[in-house]
């Protein structure tokens, strides 16, 4: 991956597969004239994106803007970025709304079930009986419209809940 020095605090990276995973917020990505590639770069933390077809003056201006902590998005790709933000906000809102239907205790049970714990292990962790754990699980599955434990775990993963299996 080519990452030339710019003389400022800005790093320039040329887009290539696999997608970049920049850690710095001062990264400017130069890549294809593609909104999807721009969304990938920005989604991975890039502060700016310049299509490779743009002039060197545009790149220089972008470097200056990023060095001033300004986001740089091609004006032609603004719509794509806005649509992505709308989509992302909808997903988050949906997840939050789904979790809101659960009681506090049910959320605790859900978090443990997501890690693969059964009703006995959940009961042990939370100081409740296996029968109570089973009732909570049944209620959670009904509220989230999950037909199996596997689907429940998949639903948790989609919501960003940690599903790393735990020792029982």
């Amino acid at each position: 991956m080519d990452r030339p020095e710019t003389g400022s605090n800005v790093q320039i990276q040329f887009f290539e597969e696999p997608s970049p995973r920049p850690e710095a917020s001062n990264l400017l990505v130069i890549g294809p004239d593609s909104a999807d590639d721009m969304l990938t770069a920005v989604g991975n933390g890039a502060a700016g994106y310049v299509p490779i077809s743009r002039s060197i003056e545009t790149v220089v201006q972008a470097v200056l803007d990023v060095s001033r902590n300004q986001a740089v998005i091609p004006d032609t790709m603004l719509g794509a970025l806005i649509r992505e933000v709308v989509r992302s906000r909808r997903e988050n809102t949906t997840d939050e709304a789904q979790l809101e239907v659960l009681t506090g205790r049910e959320r605790e049970v859900f978090a443990l079930a997501a890690k693969g714990l059964d009703k006995f292990a959940i009961g042990q962790r939370l100081g409740i009986s296996p029968a109570t754990s089973r009732t909570h699980l049944a209620n959670i599955m009904a509220k989230l419209d999950a037909r199996s434990r596997a689907e429940l775990v998949a639903r948790a993963a989609a919501m960003g809940i940690d599903t790393t299996p735990e020792e029982r």
Binding site: T76, L78, G79, I82, V86
Partner: protein, 89 residues
Amino acid sequence: MNPHDTPRRRPDVEAVNQPGVQALFDPETGAVHDLNPASMAIWEACDGLTEIDELAAAIATLSQARPADALQDVMSTVAQFRELGLLAE
């Protein structure tokens, strides 16, 4: 118009969205409407599915503008599209 409206652009209106050039061509009237990049982004979001307040919230997030200001800007822009007859009824 209210924030929960989902404006839909007329499918026959042609959009040009190139570096430095954002414009709409209305084949019914032959008119060309020059837009700025933000207005073009709003035009592209007029898909009949996106609510005005969703769009405004996204713009506020990206531009760090006050949500109320973003909502006013979006509503004003959509109102102009409507006045120009560019939106489907």
